[in-house]
C-alpha cells in the first residue's frame, strides 16, 4: 500500500514538478508581498489591543457615571456631562519663546484644575471635599483612557486606510508599553472610586507617618504642614491634604514655608520623598537616596521648589521609592506599603547623618494623597 503511493508519485514526476512550481510561486509571492503580509499581521495585533482598550475605556466611563450619579441629587443623569468632561483638552503654551513658560503653564494648570473642580461640584453637589477630589481623579483617569483609545484607534484606522507599514509600525512598536499604561489606569478607576491609597501615595504616607498626632495647618492650596520634634531637631513635615485624591501644590507649600521663616531660624535641609519609576529587574519598594527635587509632573512645581531652595541656599536631598508604571496609579501593593516604613527610617537616618541638633529640616512627601489622612 505504502509502496504503491510512493511509486505513484515517484513515477509520475509531473506531480512533483507541479508541487515544486507551486512552492516556488508562493516563495515569489512572499518576496513581493512580505511587507503587506507583515503590515496585515501587525494591524491585527493593533486591532486586538484596540478592542481591549475600548472595553477598558467603556468601563472607565460607566464607573465614572455611576460614581457621579451616587453623589448627585435627584434623578439627574450625569451621562452627557461626563461625556463632555471626557473630551476636555489642554493646550500647552508655546515654547517658541520659552522665557516665562513655567508661569504660563502654572497659570493654565490652575485654570484647568479650578474648572474641573467646579464641574465636578456642579455634577455632584452632595459630595464632600475629599469625594470631589476623588471624583476629579476618577474622571481624569477616564479622560486619559479615552485619549489612549482615540489615539490607538486613529493609528489603526489610518493604517487600515493607507496600508502603509510605517504608519502601522508607529503604533505597533509602542503597543506593549501602552498596554501596560492602560492597564495601570484601569486599576486607577477602582482606587479613585473607593479612595484607596495608590502606589504614588507612598510620599504622602511617609509624611503622614512622621506628622500623625501633631497639630497641622494649611500652608498652600490643598497642602498641610506640621512641626514635629525629632532627636533635638525640628522637622516641618508637609504633604498634600488628604484623604481625597490630590497632589496639592508642593511647590507653593515649600516656597511659603521657606519664606515664612524669615527672621526665624532658617531651614537647614530639605528632604523630599517621592515615588520613582523602577527599571525592569529592580524590586518594587526599593529605596534609593539622592540629591535634587524628587517630584514628577509637568515641571511647574519642580521649578518653584528649585527656585525657592536656590534662593535660600539650602541643601536638598531626595528619597525615591521605586515602583513600576503598573503600580503608580493602582491600589498600593504590599511591597510598597512596607517600603514606607523603611523610608521613614531612611528619612530619620538621613536627618541624623546630614544635620546637627537644633537644626530645622523640611520634609516633603510628594505624590497623590488619596486614601491617606494626616
Amino acid at each position: 500500500m505504502y509502496l504503491q503511493v510512493g511509486q505513484l508519485l515517484q513515477n509520475q514526476s509531473d506531480i512533483g514538478m507541479i508541487l515544486q512550481t507551486l512552492f516556488s510561486l508562493s516563495f515569489i509571492i512572499y518576496l513581493f508581498y512580505a511587507q503587506r503580509i507583515q503590515a496585515m499581521s501587525m494591524l491585527r495585533a493593533v486591532e486586538g489591543t484596540l478592542r481591549k482598550v475600548k472595553e477598558i475605556r467603556d468601563k472607565g466611563r460607566s464607573v465614572s457615571i455611576e460614581a457621579v450619579k451616587e453623589a448627585s441629587e435627584g434623578d439627574y443623569d450625569p451621562t452627557p456631562d461626563v461625556e463632555r468632561f471626557l473630551e476636555h483638552f489642554f493646550i500647552s503654551p508655546t515654547s517658541l519663546d520659552p522665557a516665562g513658560i513655567v508661569g504660563k503653564m502654572g497659570q493654565l494648570l490652575n485654570v484647568r484644575e479650578n474648572t474641573f473642580e467646579a464641574e465636578v461640584r456642579a455634577m455632584a453637589p452632595k459630595a464632600s471635599d475629599s469625594e470631589v477630589n476623588n471624583l476629579e481623579n476618577l474622571l481624569e483617569a477616564s479622560l486619559a483612557l479615552n485619549i489612549y483609545y482615540k489615539v490607538i484607534r486613529h493609528f489603526y484606522l489610518l493604517g487600515k486606510k493607507t496600508m502603509n507599514i510605517y504608519v502601522i509600525m508607529q503604533i505597533h512598536m509602542i503597543l506593549p508599553m501602552i498596554v501596560r499604561e492602560i492597564e495601570a489606569y484601569s486599576r486607577a478607576l477602582q482606587a479613585f472610586r473607593d479612595g484607596t491609597p495608590i502606589g504614588d501615595s507612598v510620599g504622602p504616607l511617609v509624611a503622614a507617618r512622621l506628622m500623625h498626632g501633631h497639630e497641622w495647618s494649611d500652608v498652600a492650596k490643598e497642602m498641610v504642614a506640621a512641626e514635629v520634634p525629632y532627636n533635638g531637631r525640628t522637622l516641618i513635615v508637609t504633604k498634600a491634604k488628604g484623604p481625597g485624591g490630590s497632589v496639592g501644590k508642593p511647590g507653593d507649600a515649600i516656597e511659603n514655608i521657606l519664606n515664612s521663616r524669615k527672621g526665624r531660624k532658617k531651614v537647614d535641609a530639605v528632604i523630599m520623598i517621592d515615588a520613582a519609576g523602577k527599571l525592569e529587574g529592580e524590586p518594587a519598594g526599593g529605596i534609593a537616596e539622592g540629591v535634587g527635587a524628587a517630584i514628577g509632573g509637568i515641571g511647574v512645581e519642580k521649578y518653584k521648589i528649585e527656585e525657592a531652595v536656590k534662593e535660600h541656599d539650602i541643601p536638598m536631598y531626595a528619597i525615591a521609592i521605586k515602583q513600576d508604571i503598573t503600580h503608580v496609579v493602582a491600589p498600593m501593593v504590599e511591597e510598597l506599603y512596607t517600603a514606607c516604613d523603611t523610608a521613614v527610617e531612611t528619612v530619620k537616618r538621613m536627618i541624623d547623618e546630614k544635620t546637627k541638633e537644633g537644626d530645622t529640616i523640611l520634609v516633603a512627601g510628594i505624590g497623590n494623597t488619596v486614601g491617606v489622612g494626616q
Binding site: K52, P331, G373
Partner: protein, 139 residues
C-alpha cells in the same frame, strides 16, 4: 492554556486563529510530511538531487507551521482585562494594642479613627491600607 481561554470568556477577541487557519496548518503539515517522506525515498533511489529539494520544501513547510503556532501562543497569552484588586485595611487600637485586619470599605483612609475597639473602650485607628498579596502568576 485551555483553562485560561475558557476563563476569559468573551474577552478573547485575540483568538483570531480560526478553523480556517487550522485547516491551512493541517494541509501544509500533510504536504510537508509527504515531501519529507518523498525526499528520503529519493535519497535511497536513483534521484538524490530531487531528494534534496523535497527535503528542503518539507522542512520549510514544518518551519512555517512552527512559526504559526509560536505566534498564536504569543497572541492568546495576553492577559485578560484587569481584574479587581483585593484591598485590606489594618486597624490598631492605641490603648490596648489590638491589631486587626479586615477588608477595605469605601470611606476608609489611613489615620481615620472612628471605629470602636472590639476589646476595650478605645477607638481604633486605621494605620494601613494595601492590596492583598497576589498569588504568583504562572507564566
Amino acid at each position: 492554556m485551555t483553562t485560561r481561554m475558557t476563563d476569559a470568556g468573551p474577552q478573547t477577541p485575540m483568538m483570531s486563529l480560526s478553523w480556517v487557519s487550522l485547516a491551512v496548518v493541517v494541509v501544509i503539515g500533510i504536504f510537508s510530511l509527504l515531501f519529507l517522506w518523498l525526499g528520503f525515498q529519493s535519497f535511497g533511489g536513483e534521484n538524490p538531487d530531487q531528494g534534496n529539494l523535497y527535503i528542503v520544501v518539507g522542512t520549510a513547510g514544518l518551519a512555517a507551521i512552527g512559526y504559526m503556532f509560536f505566534r498564536t501562543k504569543a497572541i492568546s497569552s495576553q492577559k485578560p482585562p484587569v481584574e479587581k484588586a483585593e484591598v485590606v485595611t489594618i486597624l490598631e487600637c492605641p490603648s490596648c494594642d489590638l491589631k486587626r485586619v479586615r477588608d477595605f470599605q469605601r470611606g476608609d483612609y489611613v489615620y481615620k479613627s472612628d471605629e470602636s475597639c472590639t476589646r476595650c473602650e478605645g477607638t481604633m485607628t486605621i494605620t494601613g491600607i494595601h492590596r492583598k498579596a497576589e498569588p504568583k502568576k504562572k507564566r
